[in-house]
């Protein structure tokens, strides 16, 4: 399935989720913890937001179900990145890198800042 928003930016929660899944297949709580680590504790995804984004990423074909387990009588579902998801994450990472490079260069030209 073609991504619905291939030309739009992902948004930070979706970017963090794809980045988390780029390491290995993960379940919901695992993604929340990993997103926190990736963002140096700045972003704490909540379950409502997480599953809204997962639902969208699934319907866009960027992630898929890897496996399901039953833990303490409850379903635990693991998700993995699809090839389309990996491509989309690469495009987004490049876009962010480009923007960050431009910002850093301009701050340096300004004479100080974070450069």
């Amino acid at each position: 399935m073609m991504p619905r928003m291939a030309n739009l930016t992902l948004g930070e929660p979706a970017f963090l989720i794809l980045t988390a899944l780029a390491a290995q297949p993960q379940h919901g709580y695992g993604m929340i913890e990993d997103a926190r680590r990736i963002s140096d504790g700045r972003v704490r995804l909540r379950a409502g937001t997480l599953y809204t984004v997962l639902d969208r990423l699934r319907s866009d074909g960027l992630i898929e179900i890897d496996r399901e387990e039953v833990v303490q009588s409850r379903l635990r579902r693991y998700y993995r990145l699809t090839t389309a998801g990996a491509d989309r994450l690469a495009v987004e990472a490049e876009r962010l890198r480009h923007n960050a490079t431009v910002a850093t260069t301009r701050l340096a030209a300004l004479g100080g800042g974070a450069a």
Partner: protein, 337 residues
């Protein structure tokens, strides 16, 4: 983790539409409980707000996606044709009564003409012409409504339902659909029956004015003769019967959706009749009392809420029907095995 917390999270997850719960409820519960602090018994405020907003977003999204289905497109096309026919009948009756009273004002013919064009264009497949003329007519009706509110405010408020019908018709005709889709969905015979019903009701009402006696006194008060009401009522009943006959064999999903699309019109009429009769009385007794902002808000919001409620009720009804059918099938399979 406590059973209390799990039960509370389960209750909160019921805020989500079934389509989302079916796919994610159990794993969301697992994720929420995995993130709980030791000894936690109640969901935290941040999680509560997040779940509430996310559930609301899913419900709105689901409703919006539900409106983009072929069933709603068919209903919109049919409502566009029906609305145009009703407006032709309505404006024809107004002009006819005006003729009886010594020649209708030019504005009455001007109000009839666009809806005739809309009905003809919609029936012959010129959907964009129909939609364009309908929106022009709505713009004209808006200007007339503003003028009328300053001249005769109660009349403007109590005929607001006709304006709502014009807006609903214009919106329905704007929904993309193949040419002549409204007539195709309804069937030529049904459109002919509705047209006959509208003409019988409205021209019967004009006949009631001519035969039964209907006029204005010099001070503007309306006087009616003894035969006016019986003829007027009989013509509306006969016209209504033809329209009911026309909708009798309509497929239930289409009929329900047409009713919901026309619900704002009924809601506007009911709001004026039952919510503003006191305001009309005070107008008669003490003169002009302008409507407050809250009253305008009520007149604007109730029709929209009526439509939204109708959409939700249809979705629930159809979901319940589908689940019942699935349950019966499962029950049959269990009996057989």
């Amino acid at each position: 983790m406590s059973a209390d917390l799990e039960a509370r999270y389960r209750r909160m997850l019921r805020w989500y539409p079934w389509e989302h719960r079916r796919a994610y409820e159990e794993e969301m519960l697992d994720t929420l409980l995995a993130g709980a602090r030791p000894g936690q018994r109640r969901p935290g405020p941040v999680d509560t707000v997040d779940l509430l907003l996310s559930a609301a977003r899913h419900r709105v999204g689901l409703t919006a996606r539900g409106l983009a289905t072929a069933e709603w497109r068919d209903a919109a096309a049919a409502t566009g044709v029906l609305g145009a026919l009703l407006l032709v009948g309505l404006r024809l009756a107004t002009a006819g009564r005006g003729y009886h009273l010594g020649g209708p004002a030019p504005e009455q013919w001007l109000r009839l003409l666009p809806w005739v064009l809309v009905a003809v264009a919609a029936a012959t497949g010129l959907r964009w012409v129909a939609a364009g003329v309908a929106w022009l007519a709505v713009a004209g009706e808006t200007a007339l409504l503003v003028t009328r509110y300053s001249d005769a405010p109660t009349s403007a408020v109590f005929t607001l339902w006709a304006f709502t019908l014009a807006v609903v018709t214009a919106v329905a005709l704007t929904v993309p659909a193949p040419p002549r889709h409204g007539v195709a969905v309804l069937g030529v015979r049904r459109v002919a029956l509705v047209t006959a019903g509208v003409l019988v009701a409205q021209l019967g009402s004009v006949a009631a004015a001519v035969v039964g006696g209907y006029g204005h006194l010099a001070d503007g008060r309306v006087v009616v003769g003894p035969y006016f009401r019986p003829i007027d009522t009989a013509s509306y009943l006969a016209g209504g019967l033809l329209i009911v006959l026309a909708s009798w064999r309509l497929a239930p999903p289409l009929r329900l959706r047409i009713i919901v699309l026309l619900a704002p019109v009924a809601a506007t009429l009911a709001t004026a009749e039952y919510g503003f009769d006191g305001w009309r009385d005070s107008y008669v007794r003490i003169g002009y009392v302008p409507l407050a902002a809250a009253q305008w808000a009520i007149l604007a919001l109730i029709p929209i809420l009526a439509f939204a409620l109708g959409v939700v009720l249809i979705r629930r009804h159809e979901q319940r029907t589908r689940l019942l059918a699935l349950g019966r099938t499962a029950d049959r399979v269990t009996q057989v095995s």
